[in-house]
């Protein structure tokens, strides 16, 4: 059998920085995503980036800027406008040894591809009893807060967290964005990589030039505290950190858990924190009902009920269609809502 041209891969380095070295360049999340793609593509010829406007335009958020020039049109593919095919073709590439990193331009446009994600990408390993696997990454910006047009602000992570067979990763800062994306690319299973567009360029942080991984399935604790645990991901982590800073002035000590991966969830970090504080508030911008917050509350009930001093509370989007720009501030959780929820939990 002619197996075709071999594709070259260098063994991955597993640089693990607890924090970025001080001399690292300061990057935005969008730049960190781009850097992760470039450094992995450099290492592994099997990686193909594909999607709408990812090549010559460098992505509508510039998260793939410069990749076409660096790696050429066979590895950075501007596709026809067809989400179903972008993911279906990626499945075909993945089962035959490539490692596609597909971009869906906005989460609100993933629906034509849901058939491929849920019916195929998520199930291939199980259906073939491990014979075939789909090591692909599906990147997409998600979430509100940038006054975008209709269908550009959705947060439907729960749809995918609910679907067995795919991992769901959500970075909240540039350092994690790079490390988590590299982990996602190296993962042997399909990973949905949700990029909080509201903070794509909101701030910069040192991000090492070289490759490093942040492991999938591990939460971070960006702030430790003893009175209450705030649990969040993506853009809501910053809201929680703001709320925590405001509460500190009143002597309330808040711990913030950034889940970073929604499937598989880092149950240990989550439960350990809640056991310590005895109080928890989950914050997400997605609709409330059957959101990921509901799963977290269930886990806390299963594993820490007797340590709770108050019912776990949720600050979420409403059970409505995501409002257009002019009313979106009323929909999105904000610092004041989180502070109020924390006070309620403390006063219970």
């Amino acid at each position: 059998m002619n197996a075709g041209r071999p594709l070259h891969t260098r063994e991955p380095e597993h640089g693990l920085h607890a924090v970025a070295p001080a001399a690292s360049p300061k990057l935005t999340i969008a730049q960190a995503v781009c850097g992760a793609l470039a450094s992995e593509m450099e290492r592994d010829e099997r990686i193909i980036v594909l999607g709408e406007d990812v090549g010559i335009n460098g992505g509508v958020f510039r998260a793939t800027d410069g990749l076409l020039a660096q790696f050429g049109p066979e590895r950075v593919m501007d596709t026809p406008l067809a989400e179903g095919a972008i993911i279906g073709v990626s499945v075909g590439l993945a089962v035959t040894g490539f490692r596609p990193v597909a971009e869906i331009q906005f989460m609100g446009f993933v629906y034509p591809a849901v058939n491929q994600i849920l019916a195929h990408a998520a199930r291939m390993r199980n259906r073939t009893r491990g014979r075939l696997q789909v090591p692909m990454v599906i990147r997409m910006p998600y979430g509100g807060g940038i006054h975008a047009p209709e269908s550009h602000s959705e947060s439907y992570e729960a749809l995918f967290v609910h679907s067995p067979g795919i991992k769901v990763v959500v970075p909240s800062n540039p350092y994690d964005a790079k490390g988590l994306l590299i982990s996602a690319i190296r993962d042997e299973d399909p990973v949905m990589f949700l990029e909080p567009k509201r903070i794509y360029r909101a701030f910069r942080e040192p991000v090492p030039d070289e490759s490093y991984t942040v492991p999938i399935g591990t939460a971070a604790v960006p702030r430790t505290g003893g009175d209450v645990t705030l649990i969040a991901w993506g853009a809501m982590v910053r809201i929680c950190l703001d709320a925590a800073a405001a509460l500190e002035k009143d002597g309330v000590s808040v711990e913030v858990v950034d889940l970073r991966t929604l499937n598989p969830l880092d149950r240990d970090t989550l439960i350990e924190s809640v056991v310590k504080t005895g109080r928890a508030v989950v914050v997400h911008e997605a609709p409330r009902t059957a959101g990921v917050g509901a799963e977290i509350v269930a886990l806390i009930n299963e594993h820490a009920l007797l340590q709770l001093e108050a019912p776990v509370s949720r600050v979420t989007g409403f059970d409505t269609v995501m409002p257009y720009a002019r009313l979106e501030e009323h929909y999105l959780p904000n610092r004041d809502r989180v502070v109020a929820a924390v006070r309620n939990v403390l006063e219970f």
Binding site: G55, I56, P112, F318, T320, A325, Y331
Partner: protein, 357 residues
């Protein structure tokens, strides 16, 4: 057995008023002078309305705006071929046609400024709200065309898509469905040659988009989309076919997106200035103006008056838009279901308390 040809497909292209003003008098539709002037007036109004939206966006008074600049002839020509009972199922770049179908301009501005009330059209306006997910509206066009057929209405549904939309599965599904059921649908593809940064040839290796109709067993025609007479003639044919029960058709109108994809885009990243200049010389508005002038139906003074009138009219739409009171945040909930379920009513109450505090 020899191989035999069992099917051949020919693609027709229709041009009536060429870019240099050449006119095919045989093909020229019978339109009285006033109607031709009205076409021009409609196109100038569209352009003025569109330009104003970009200015509002730059001033921070508008959200993202998708310019129709360069595509006016398609929208004016289709509008003229429509009768009151026809339906419009737009994509997101048909503001001009929506205006002509009775959607108030201030509502179009409101929609793009991020206000849901902008998608709530006056009673009797047979127009769906715009569709942001590319291609998704085309099946609605098939559905409304089916509805008109089932009800035996003398009407047709026209649905729009871009060249990029023809790559979506929905395009195939819509045309196929319409073909199978002979729905009263007119599919118009505004082939403006770009889908954000992707040129038309990167969407499909098919030489034309019109020929795709053939595979669904329906008529397809390519027209010069910057030639309002060609668009009108093709549209009349397709609408009459649909209304009279002759089934759906596809019109590929070849035009050019003279603006950026939206105000969030920068087209200089992916296309050349020469290409833009080439198409600026084919701008449908000066083309029609030269034609009118050549026939002695128009002069500089009238043009000046029209442009001033268009600016005043657009200003009135901006005023109406600015005069809209802020929407009630409770509206986030009130239209989710026929009746607001209790759990949602609680969320609404919670928000109302927060807004009051």
């Amino acid at each position: 057995m020899p191989r035999t040809i069992i099917h051949e497909c020919a693609v027709e292209r229709l041009e009536i008023l060429g870019p240099e003003g050449q006119l095919d008098t045989e093909l020229m539709p019978e339109l009285d002078d006033e109607t031709v002037r009205a076409l021009y007036r409609d196109m100038v109004r569209m352009r003025t309305f569109d330009d104003k939206a970009v200015k509002l966006q730059r001033q921070g008074r508008m959200g993202t705006w998708a310019q129709l600049k360069g595509q006016e002839a398609i929208q004016a020509g289709v509008a003229l071929a429509m009768i009151e009972s026809d339906w419009l199922i737009p994509a997101f770049r048909e503001h001009g046609l929506m205006l002509l179908r009775g959607v108030p301009g201030h509502l179009i501005y409101a929609y793009w400024a991020g206000d849901e009330r902008g998608a709530s059209f006056p009673e009797g306006v047979r127009c769906l709200p715009i569709a942001v997910p590319v291609g998704s509206q085309l099946t609605h066009g098939a559905g409304i065309g089916l509805s008109l057929k089932l009800r035996g209405e003398h009407a047709a549904a026209v649905t729009f898509g871009g060249d990029g939309a023809t790559s979506e599965g929905d395009f195939h599904e819509a045309l196929n469905f319409a073909g199978v059921f002979g729905t009263k649908t007119v599919f118009v593809i505004q082939n403006n040659q770009w889908a954000i940064s992707m040129p038309r040839k990167r969407q499909t290796s098919s030489p034309t988009l019109a020929q795709k109709a053939d595979a669904y067993g329906i008529p397809g025609l390519q027209v010069d989309g910057n030639d309002v007479f060609a668009v009108y003639t093709a549209a009349v044919e397709a609408f009459e076919r649909a209304r009279s029960g002759g089934g759906p058709s596809l019109i590929e109108a070849v035009t050019y997106r003279l603006g950026d994809h939206t105000t969030a885009d920068d087209a200089t990243r992916y296309r050349t200035g020469e290409e833009l200049e080439y198409w600026q010389r084919r701008d449908p508005i000066p083309r029609l103006r030269r034609h009118l002038e050549g026939r002695g139906l128009w002069d500089a003074e009238q043009d000046q008056a029209l442009k001033e009138e268009a600016v005043r009219w657009v200003a009135s739409q901006v005023d109406a838009f600015n005069a809209m009171p802020m929407a009630d945040p409770g509206d986030i909930f009130r239209f989710m279901y026929h009746e607001v379920p209790p759990a949602l009513a609680e969320q609404l109450e919670w928000l109302e308390r927060e807004v009051r505090a």
